[in-house]
């Protein structure tokens, strides 16, 4: 039960990282997104349905072969949410672009009609 929950919540967090979470600064270096009101936290409305699957490889270093999950789902899932956006916009030039995709520089440059990423 914990593992499934960690996976689902981790995926949701990864989606939030890829799509909206950003610590933005103004030209004076002050943080513009200082409260959770400015921070993209996914609600049930934005969260899609996930189909998950798993393979089992027990750890030889543990009495029951257990491994940890922890933050792994959001650590790994962050990339695949972002790759499709890159694939279809500028396959070579935006390889270095980092998140978030909608509210960050990527989103702004698209809104401005610029393709410099």
């Amino acid at each position: 039960m914990i593992i499934e929950s960690q996976t689902y919540v981790g995926l949701t967090e990864a989606l939030a990282i890829a799509m909206g979470q950003e610590i933005a600064y103004n030209e004076m270096g002050n943080v513009k997104t200082g409260t959770l009101m400015d921070f993209f936290l996914l609600t049930a409305w934005e969260t899609p349905h996930y189909t998950t699957d798993h393979t089992t490889t027990p750890s030889p270093n543990h009495p029951i072969g257990a491994k940890g999950v922890g933050e792994s789902p959001n650590g790994g899932a962050f990339r695949p949410f972002q790759t499709p956006c890159m694939m279809h916009s500028a396959p070579l030039d935006c390889v270095r672009r980092i998140c978030p995709m909608i509210t960050g520089e990527f989103g702004r440059s698209h809104q401005d009609g610029k393709n410099e990423l």
Partner: protein, 203 residues
């Protein structure tokens, strides 16, 4: 840093690191984790994608070729880490074969080119490794302390049992699961299962 070989069987590696002290989160990325695992996993994946573009190869196939094979575990990476177990090819094939994703994507791209739809379908793939369940080992040294976890269980003469795990309940079922484990174990020593409480240490 020396986990940067990721899940790939890389025979030789050289790592040069420049550290930059900064009071701002780099790349506008919000704070994740003290180890920056998310960013590291992102970077490792990105390097594979870049290599695939340079070699004009499918990134999924490039990954498959270079994954550590099942028979190679326990695997000592070129930068000195031991990977205890894994079966990367099976999980990779499971993901790739799911719902015939590539066919769907090609159909959507064709429909987009014909002007029937303005929505595109993308496929995001990743594969990464992370250190989990470490315990107090020298590899994960944070300011002189190894990683650790704690668990205090007190069984009273009446049979009631109180457990104080180091992990806090994050509303993902930790408290319920811990209580179930305790109830199962407690049953053997005739503790009163209904009195068992699992609490997070910070609560």
């Amino acid at each position: 840093m020396n986990i940067c070989a990721g899940p790939y069987n890389i025979p030789t590696a050289y790592l040069a690191v420049d550290g930059v002290y900064n009071n701002k989160a780099p790349c506008s990325v919000a704070y994740r984790c003290s180890f920056w695992v998310t960013e590291a996993a992102y970077f490792i994946g990105q390097m594979i994608e870049v290599l695939a573009i340079k070699l004009n190869m499918d990134a999924a196939e490039l990954r498959r070729i270079h994954f550590i094979k099942k028979g190679q575990f326990p695997y000592i990476s070129t930068l000195g880490w031991e990977y205890d177990s894994g079966d990367y090819h099976t999980s990779w094939d499971k993901a790739l074969n799911h719902d015939d994703l590539r066919k769907k994507q090609n159909e959507r791209v064709a429909a987009f080119q014909r002007g029937e739809t303005r929505k595109l379908l993308g496929i995001g793939l990743t594969h990464f490794t992370e250190i989990v369940g470490t315990g107090p080992v020298k590899n994960c040294n944070i300011l002189g302390k190894g990683m650790f976890d704690s668990y205090a269980i007190r069984i009273h003469p009446t049979g009631s049992t109180i457990a104080r795990p180091g992990a806090i309940s994050q509303k993902k079922g930790h408290a319920t699961t811990f209580a179930q484990i305790l109830a199962t174990a407690g049953h053997k020593i005739r503790a009163k299962a209904q009195m068992i409480a699992a609490r997070g240490s910070t609560q």
